[in-house]
C-alpha cells in the first residue's frame, strides 16, 4: 500500500509541479476574480456613450484604457466583455463536452451499427467547414449570444465524440469492464459506474485543451457580428467593432485582441498542465525523454583499484532514481565481473534492480529520471561509463550489445527487419550496401530463420514472437560483440519458443568460442538477466541473485541451486514450482518485496525473513564464502567469523 493521498489532493500537487500551468492557473484565477468583482468595481457604465469623448487613447483621465468610438470606457467594457466571453466559452465547452462525450461513450461501448451510425454523423459534422457551419447555424437562428454558443457547441461536438469514443473503445475490453458485466451490471451500470469515471479524465483533458479554442471561436463569430447584441460587449465583438479603427485608433481593437490572447494563453497553459497530470501516458511526472546516455555523477576513476584482466568489471555500481530533488537508489553498490566466454545469470523478482543494472552497463538506463551515482564499468580495463558519447556509441552494438525482453516493442515497427539489421552492420563496419546485405542474410540464417530473403523484407509485426527475438539476437551479434547483455530475452515467449531461443543462444555462445581466430583469448561473454531460476540453470555457469537493489548471493549455478545460502535464495527455490516434482510448493514467501527506490538501509529481506534478527537492520556486506561464492547475510557473517 504505497500512498495515501486523495486523488484530488494528488491532482493539485501534480498540477503545481508544472510551473507554467501554475502561471496559467494564476492568470486565469486573476481574470476570474476580476470578472467576478467587476460589478462592484468603481467603473463607468460600460454602455454609457459619450460621443464627445470618443476614441480617447489609453491613460487619459477618467479612462485608464481610453474610450471606443462611442466614447464608452474601454476598461469597463473589456472587463464586462471578458465576463460574457468567458461564460459563453465555458458553457459552450461544457455543452459540447456533454453531448460529445455521450455520443462517444455510447458509440464506443455498443459499437456495431450504433457506432457506425453515430460516427458517420460525426464525420459529417467534421467534414463541414466548421466556421461555415457556425455561420450557417447563426444565420438560421439569428444572431445573439445564445445562438453563437449553440453553434460553437455543435461545431465542437465531434472532437469530444471522437476522443471519448477512442478512450471508451480502449476501455471496453479491459478486464474490469468484463468483470462488471460478469457481476451482472446493466449497460447503464457499466457506462455510468465503470466507464464514465475512467473516461472523465479524458473528458477533462479535452475540455481543458479545447476551452481556449472555443473562446477563440466564439470571438470569431462575434468578430463577424454574430455574437453579443449591442450594447453588450464581448471580446470578439469589441475586436470586430474596433477593427475598422485599426489605423486611426489601434488600441480599440488591439486591447480586446490582447485580452483574448492572454485569456487563451492562460487557459492553454492550464490545459497543458491538466493534460500532463491526467493523461495516463504522461503519468509519473513530466514527459521527459531519455537522453542518449545515462547521466553519470562524479568523474570517479578506480585509480586505487587494480586493473582486472576480466572482460567486463563492474565495481560499486549505484544507479538511482532522481526526481524532484530526491534520489532513490535502485541499484546499490553492485560488484561483479564477467570473464571471456562466460555466461552469468542475474536473477531476481520484478523491481529488484536487475534490469537497471543491465542498462547501466552501457549507460542506457533512461536518464532522466535515472542516473548513475557511482561506480565504474570497465571493458578490458577501460571505464566505458565516462567515455565521450561518440566513443561510447562506437562501443554500443559493436563490443557490447543487448537483447531486450519484448521483441515487438524493441524493434522499430516501421522499418523492415533487413533495414534494421543492415543499419547496425553499416554503423560499425565499413561495408558496401551489397556486402552488408549478404552479411545480414548470413546473420539471419545463423539465428536459424527460415527463408531469410523474404524475412529481410518483413516488418516486425509480421513475424512471430520467436522469430522477432531471433532477429534481435541477429542484430545483437551482427558486429561480433565481446559482451552480450540479455535482459529477460525469453520472458515474453511461450515455453516451447523459450526453449528454442535458449538453445540457440547456447549454441551461438559455443560457436563464438570456437570462432575466435584473432588469437586473443576471447569468446562471447553473456550477462543473462531473468526472474526464472529454471532458465538460469539451463544456460548460465554462474548466478548472481539480486534482491532490493543488491546482489545477495553469488556463485556457481550448480552450487547455488543445490545449497542456497541466503534465506531469500532458499525461499525462492522452495516456492518455484517444478514440473513433476513430488513435493508441492508450500506458502511462498510472506509479504512483498520492497518497492523499487524505497529499500531499507539494512537487509532488504528483513521483513519477510524467518530467521531475521535485530542485527539485520544494519547494512550487511557481501561475504566471501569461498573463492567463487559470496552471500549477503548476517547469519553467514557470524558463521564465517
Amino acid at each position: 500500500m504505497v500512498e495515501k493521498n486523495t486523488p484530488a489532493l494528488e491532482f493539485w500537487q501534480r498540477l503545481n509541479r508544472n510551473r507554467l500551468s501554475t502561471v496559467g492557473l494564476l492568470m486565469l484565477g486573476l481574470i476570474f476574480v476580476l470578472c467576478l468583482i467587476t460589478p462592484w468595481l468603481p467603473l463607468p457604465d460600460p454602455d454609457a456613450t459619450d460621443l464627445a469623448n470618443r476614441l480617447k487613447t489609453p491613460l487619459t483621465s477618467n479612462h485608464l484604457l481610453g474610450t471606443d468610438e462611442l466614447g464608452r470606457d474601454l476598461l469597463s467594457r473589456l472587463l464586462w466583455g471578458t465576463r460574457v466571453s468567458l461564460v459563453v466559452g465555458f458553457v459552450a465547452t461544457l455543452a459540447a463536452a456533454l453531448v460529445g462525450s455521450l455520443i462517444g461513450l455510447v458509440s464506443g461501448y455498443f459499437q456495431g451499427w450504433i457506432d457506425s451510425g453515430l460516427m458517420r454523423g460525426v464525420d459529417t459534422l467534421m467534414a463541414f467547414p466548421y466556421m461555415l457551419l457556425a455561420l450557417a447555424i447563426v444565420a438560421a437562428f439569428g444572431p445573439g449570444l445564445l445562438n453563437a454558443l449553440f453553434a460553437i457547441a455543435i461545431v465542437n461536438v465531434p472532437f469530444f465524440a471522437r476522443t471519448v469514443r477512442g478512450a471508451t473503445i480502449s476501455l471496453v475490453q479491459r478486464e474490469f469492464v468484463l468483470a462488471a458485466r460478469l457481476g451482472g451490471a446493466s449497460h447503464f451500470g457499466v457506462l455510468w459506474r465503470e466507464l464514465l469515471p475512467n473516461i472523465l479524465p479524458v473528458i477533462v483533458v479535452t475540455i481543458s485543451t479545447t476551452a481556449g479554442w472555443m473562446i477563440l471561436e466564439t470571438a470569431g463569430l462575434s468578430f463577424l457580428g454574430l455574437g453579443a447584441q449591442p450594447p453588450t460587449a464581448d471580446l470578439g465583438s469589441m475586436l470586430g467593432e474596433g477593427r475598422k479603427l485599426l489605423f486611426t485608433a489601434p488600441h480599440v481593437s488591439t486591447l480586446p485582441g490582447l485580452v483574448i490572447l492572454i485569456l487563451v494563453i492562460s487557459l492553454n497553459l492550464l490545459g497543458d498542465g491538466v493534460r500532463d497530470v491526467l493523461d495516463p501516458r504522461l503519468r509519473g511526472g513530466a514527459l521527459r525523454s531519455p537522453q542518449p546516455r545515462t547521466e553519470v555523477l562524479s568523474a570517479e576513476l578506480g585509480s586505487a583499484q587494480v586493473r582486472s584482466t576480466e572482460k567486463l568489471v563492474i565495481r560499486n555500481l549505484t544507479t538511482e532514481l532522481f526526481q524532484q530533488g530526491q534520489a532513490k537508489p535502485l541499484v546499490r553498490n553492485v560488484d561483479f565481473e564477467l570473464r571471456p566466454g562466460e555466461c552469468l545469470g542475474l536473477v531476481g523478482e520484478s523491481g529488484c534492480g536487475k534490469s537497471v543494472t543491465a542498462l547501466s552497463l552501457a549507460a542506457l538506463a533512461a536518464s532522466p529520471p535515472l542516473r548513475i551515482a557511482s561506480g565504474t564499468v570497465e571493458l578490458d580495463g577501460e571505464d566505458i561509463l565516462r567515455l565521450p558519447l561518440r566513443l561510447l556509441q562506437d562501443i554500443r552494438g559493436k563490443r557490447v550489445s543487448y537483447i531486450f525482453q519484448d521483441p515487438l516493442t524493441t524493434l522499430n515497427p516501421v522499418l523492415t527487419i533487413g533495414e534494421q539489421l543492415i543499419q547496425v552492420i553499416r554503423r560499425h563496419q565499413s561495408l558496401s550496401s551489397r556486402a552488408s546485405y549478404t552479411e545480414a542474410l548470413h546473420l539471419l540464417s545463423r539465428v536459424r530463420i527460415p527463408s531469410p530473403e523474404t524475412r529481410m523484407k518483413a516488418y516486425p509485426h509480421q513475424l512471430s514472437g520467436g522469430m522477432r527475438q531471433r532477429v534481435c539476437i541477429a542484430i545483437a551479434l551482427a558486429n561480433r560483440p565481446e559482451v552480450l547483455i540479455a535482459d529477460e530475452p525469453t520472458t515474453a515467449l511461450d515455453v516451447t519458443i523459450q526453449a528454442e531461443i535458449l538453445s540457440l543462444l547456447n549454441d551461438l555462445r559455443k560457436t563464438t568460442l570456437k570462432d575466435s581466430q584473432t588469437g586473443k583469448k576471447t569468446g562471447l561473454s553473456v550477462l543473462f538477466i531473468t526472474h526464472d531460476l529454471g532458465v538460469v540453470s539451463t544456460i548460465c555457469e554462474k548466478v548472481a541473485v539480486m534482491y532490493a537493489g543488491q546482489i545477495v548471493e553469488f556463485g556457481e549455478t550448480k552450487s547455488i541451486l543445490e545449497s542456497p545460502q541466503h534465506p531469500y535464495t532458499q525461499a525462492l527455490l522452495a516456492c518455484t514450482p517444478r514440473l513433476g516434482a513430488k513435493h508441492k510448493v508450500l506458502g511462498g514467501i510472506p509479504g512483498t518485496p520492497p518497492p523499487p527506490g524505497s529499500y531499507p538501509s539494512g537487509c532488504g529481506f528483513l521483513d519477510r525473513c524467518k530467521v531475521a534478527s535485530v542485527k539485520c537492520q544494519d547494512p550487511v556486506h557481501l561475504m566471501q564464502l569461498s573463492s567463487n561464492r559470496q552471500v549477503r547475510c548476517v547469519l553467514k557473517q557470524g558463521a564465517n567469523a
Binding site: A139, Q393, H461
Partner: protein, 318 residues
C-alpha cells in the same frame, strides 16, 4: 491497398450524403431567401413571392432536395441566384485560389510545425524548447483574424513590404513572384495557427516515441543520436501525426473563411460567407459540398499515407 482505398471511398458516401442533407436543411431554415436578396431593398412581399415561385422555392422541401441532389449527381450544380451564373463555373474559378492558399498554409504548417516540434522535443527543457513552446502557445492562442489584421498593419501599412490583399497585383504581369508575394502573408497567418498545433503534437509525440523501447534498441546498437531521432523516433511519430495533419487540413479550410475575408483572397471560403448572407442557396450548397469533399479527400489521403507509412495496419481491414 486498392481494396482499402475503395473501401474508404465507399465510406465517404454516407458522409457526403449527410452533408448534403445538413446543408440543405440549414439553408432551408435560414430566414430571408434568395428572392429578397435578389430584389434587395426593393423586395416587397408580393414581388418576393412571385420570384420565389419562379425560382421553384415554393415547392415542398423534399422535392427541392431531390431535384437538387439529382442534378448534382449529373454534375449540374444549378445557377447562382445572386451571381447569375452557373454555380460550378463560380466554384471552379475559386477552387484554385483556395487550394493554393490552403495548400501553402499546409506547407507552412507541416514544415514549421514538424521542425519546431522536433527541435523542441530534442532540445527538451532548453531555451530552444521554451522559446518554441512560447511561440506555439501564442500561435494557438491568438485569434487568426486578429493576427491577420496585425500583420497587415505591420507589413503593409507600417513597413510597406507586402501587399495587403488580393492574389495578384492588379493589371500586373501575374508572375509567380507576384503571386508568392501576395500569398505570403495569408498563407503564413493561416498556417501559423495550424503549425502551432502540429508543433505541440509533434513535440509530445516525439517525446513519447523517444521513450519507446525501440529507441533504446537503436541506442544500444550504437546509432548516432541524429539517426536515432530522425530515422527511428521521427518516422514513428510521423505515422501518428498524419491523421492529425488531415484534420488540420479541415481546420485550415475552415480558417480560410476568415483569412480570405481579411486578405480579400478570391477563394471559396470568402465566397461562401457572402453567399450565406445573400441567401444564395445553390451556391452555398454547392460550395459546402465541394469544400466538404475536399476535406474528405484530404482525410482519405492522410489515411492512405498513414497506411503506406505504417506497415502494422492491415490494409483490407475495415
Amino acid at each position: 491497398m486498392l481494396r482499402y482505398t475503395i473501401h474508404r471511398l465507399l465510406l465517404t458516401i454516407p458522409v457526403l450524403v449527410g452533408i448534403s442533407v445538413v446543408v440543405f436543411l440549414i439553408m432551408a431554415l435560414i430566414p430571408g431567401d434568395p428572392a429578397t436578396a435578389i430584389l434587395g431593398a426593393f423586395a416587397t412581399p408580393e414581388n418576393a413571392t412571385k420570384l420565389r415561385a419562379e425560382l421553384g422555392l415554393d415547392r415542398p422541401l423534399i422535392e427541392q432536395y431531390f431535384t437538387w441532389a439529382g442534378n448534382l449527381l449529373s454534375g449540374d450544380f444549378g445557377r447562382s441566384y445572386a451571381l447569375n451564373r452557373p454555380v460550378l463555373d463560380e466554384l471552379l474559378e475559386r477552387l484554385g485560389p483556395t487550394l493554393l492558399l490552403a495548400g501553402s498554409a499546409m506547407c507552412v504548417c507541416v514544415l514549421l510545425g514538424l521542425i519546431a516540434g522536433l527541435l523542441a522535443a530534442v532540445k527538451q527543457y532548453t531555451w530552444v524548447d521554451q522559446g518554441l513552446t512560447l511561440f506555439t502557445l501564442i500561435g494557438i492562442s491568438a485569434p487568426s483574424f486578429w493576427l491577420g489584421l496585425m500583420a497587415v498593419s505591420l507589413f503593409t501599412v507600417q513597413l510597406g513590404w507586402l501587399p495587403a490583399s488580393g492574389m495578384y497585383t492588379p493589371y500586373g504581369d501575374e508572375s509567380l513572384g507576384d503571386l508568392l508575394v501576395h500569398l505570403l502573408m495569408p498563407a503564413v497567418t493561416l498556417g501559423l495557427v495550424a503549425s502551432s498545433v502540429i508543433a505541440r503534437l509533434t513535440r509530445t509525440s516525439m517525446l513519447e516515441q523517444l521513450r519507446q523501447d525501440y529507441v533504446r534498441t537503436a541506442r544500444a546498437k550504437g546509432e548516432r543520436e541524429t539517426a536515432v531521432v530522425i530515422r527511428h523516433a521521427f518516422r514513428n511519430a510521423l505515422v501518428g501525426l498524419i491523421p492529425v495533419l488531415g484534420l488540420q487540413a479541415g481546420f485550415v479550410l475552415g480558417g480560410a473563411v476568415y483569412i480570405e475575408t481579411v486578405f480579400q483572397w478570391p477563394g471559396i471560403g470568402r465566397m461562401l460567407v457572402n453567399a450565406i448572407s445573400t441567401r444564395d442557396i445553390l451556391l452555398v450548397q454547392g460550395g459546402v459540398m465541394m469544400v466538404a469533399t475536399i476535406y474528405v479527400f484530404f482525410n482519405l489521403l492522410a489515411d492512405l499515407i498513414q497506411h503506406a507509412l505504417d506497415p502494422r495496419i492491415q490494409h483490407s481491414h475495415g
